[in-house]
Subunit: 251 residues, 2 copies
Amino acid sequence: MSDDPARAAPLTVGVLGGMGPAATIDFMAKVLRHSQAGAAREQDNVRLIVDSNPALPDRNAAIAGTGPSPAPMLAEMARGLAAAGADVLVMPCNAAHAFADAVIAATPLPFLHLIEEAVDTVARSHPAARRIGVLAVAGAVEAQLYERALAARSLLPVVPDPTARAAFMAAIWQIKASDLAAGRDGVLAAAMRLVEQGAEVVVAGCTEVPLVLGPADLAVPLIDTVDVLARRTVEVARGAGVSNEWVSTHP
Amino acid sequence: MSDDPARAAPLTVGVLGGMGPAATIDFMAKVLRHSQAGAAREQDNVRLIVDSNPALPDRNAAIAGTGPSPAPMLAEMARGLAAAGADVLVMPCNAAHAFADAVIAATPLPFLHLIEEAVDTVARSHPAARRIGVLAVAGAVEAQLYERALAARSLLPVVPDPTARAAFMAAIWQIKASDLAAGRDGVLAAAMRLVEQGAEVVVAGCTEVPLVLGPADLAVPLIDTVDVLARRTVEVARGAGVSNEWVSTHP
């Protein structure tokens, strides 16, 4: 962390992770891949400080009002990452962005917002698409994370109906428990249902989705939000700016 | 971090990483695998705080006296991890253990020593073996990291001769540059040469080795030191003790 606005890149990126741990590892591997594309030596890769904290209270239960809020622990993690030397923060978990304000308020560091970056990428890479499918867990849907970000760009969200949502959630728990084969079946079914409902693009709005689903699995483009965040993380670490202007509009 | 000796497990593990970044990701994946074996819920996995810092000065050059020492930056990383909340430190890089003293001196936290743990595992799991092959990079060989730890247990190190060492080092740089196929050929050749020299067990004394070589590749047992450290990390996080008694004997 530095107070000098003119400090040279690269920046050190603090990662609020562990939600789940496999998704954090996937994010780090993707940062490394994008990082190596522009790195001549090992020393040129991006420095990440990662708090992989699986003890964080369940985001879905908190959003549903049936469990404690993860906000205080997220704020503590953000402060710890700042103390360890992070210059900018990211959080590779979609549902946890319902508590992004707590992370942003905890330190003076800029925060690279997964949902905003993902929806920006959709709008930029598929400008003709209007109906955007979102494969998100119950908490993310309830908190309307993607719905609001899409609406702000005049895009229409296509989300699983309540029955499909329960089946999708069960599949995500299977992936978190390392049963990738069973989880993949459930995630693929949910994605295909969104396409039937008219989705022209599908956003993998849960970091567990890209662990089992790839672009070749669907007839429409699939946006890997972990990969979007990883690519932007490398850009920001190498000196691209990050703006927090959306903060006030997404409470 | 806590001063209460009776504090309950689990402990938070601070990881000095990025040497290289792919080896750190491999270590985290192995911690997750061993962690899940005893975890009923995502929340039961081990909390890791990881500083994946590829900017650390080259260990081999430092040991050879041709580059700056990584010790000051390692000490800074250790202090940062302590500030972020780590209770115990590990460093999944063999050669960096030539600078373990700087890490140990930087904070009051206990340090789980990769080389000592690896050699303990060899002695325990293969009690009849006397000649132990060590696939290590130039710096680790020059610093005699494994030679000393093996000698302390009356075991005989079998290391690559200078020509084989240069070829092995070239293979490790290929792996770090993501050319796994070419790197694997060089690593496999070096391992087979150690077996020809009489090694009864081969220790993967470089964290890049397990990225390309598995137990099925050799006629003798292969010790994955990343896996040994990951397994011990989970045990320690769950309450097993860690002793620093070897510190004074391995300057």
